[in-house]
Symmetry: C2
Subunit: 133 residues, 2 copies
DNA sequence: TACAACAATTAGACTTATTCTAAATATGTA
DNA sequence: TACATATTTAGAATAAGTCTAATTGTTGTA
């Protein structure tokens, strides 16, 4: 059974206000990794009253801090958001900068050695290349 | 023998103006991954006349487009620059966002399978965690 | 139900990073 | 030298994101 936006918010202890639900629903329903601007455009008509820019940014930050969504900084100059909480990697299309999620299993095995001062908690592989159309 | 900034610029077919040399020298001489602002502060006194903000940004873009330096977008909101052209990976210190270069060999082996539309040209591993002080 | 206490949202001003513009300088070549 | 081209410049403009202070919504308790 697929989790609803409300359920996900409750699971992370974030009160499900209409604004938060609408934004999270959008993020959970897209394969893209939208910027704050794109989120704002997408939810414009989803509530009786257009929500303010501050609310969109506040909400994205709140959701990110609570662990409900991920922030992606791969591209210069803007942050993108990702509701896919499964461990995964990214593929960046050099042609247009589009970012694709890759299931965690595309990396079958990785072995590395981090010495002395580095204590690794997580890692992520970013692939760059072309996506055949 | 270590390559000078001038030599590197010529190697990439970029005319070595004083401004470009000064900026590249700074980047080649630091382990950090400075932002445009940090570059600007660092080169402030290196030429008889303080160079303009536009020049710093222009130069960083020119160098990046020519392949002389890398752009790093790991952190939200600002771009960092890296004159280390060796293949390498990154370690992000969760505490302060500081980015460390890791030699390419810390990843001994990686095996992955990218199917259908993805044609990989490069990959990079980003590690997140703590750096012991 | 009524109210205090707190949480969330809002418009718009503000900040910060970066780009643009048009003029001024420098450089290279005939 | 003289012209074309490339580079640098100051400052205005843009874009992404944050802050402020006021307003609205929600919750728990008497």
């Amino acid at each position: 059974m697929i989790e609803s936006a409300e359920q996900r918010l409750s699971r992370f202890g974030v009160k499900p206000t209409p604004q938060r639900v609408v934004i999270l629903e959008y993020l959970m329903g897209t394969e893209d990794h939208p910027t704050a601007d794109q989120v704002m455009a997408a939810v414009e008509d989803k509530l009786p009253v257009k929500m303010s820019r501050a609310t969109v940014y506040n909400t994205l930050n709140t959701l990110h801090e609570a662990g409900v969504i991920d922030e992606i900084a791969i591209e210069a100059g803007r942050v993108r958001y990702d509701a896919n909480l499964e461990k995964h990697h990214h593929f960046v299309n050099k042609a247009d900068g589009r970012i694709y999620d890759l299931p965690h299993e595309v990396v079958n095995a990785i072995s590395f050695q981090l010495d002395k001062p580095f204590k690794m908690e997580a890692y992520q592989v970013t692939f760059y290349g072309q996506v055949a159309t």
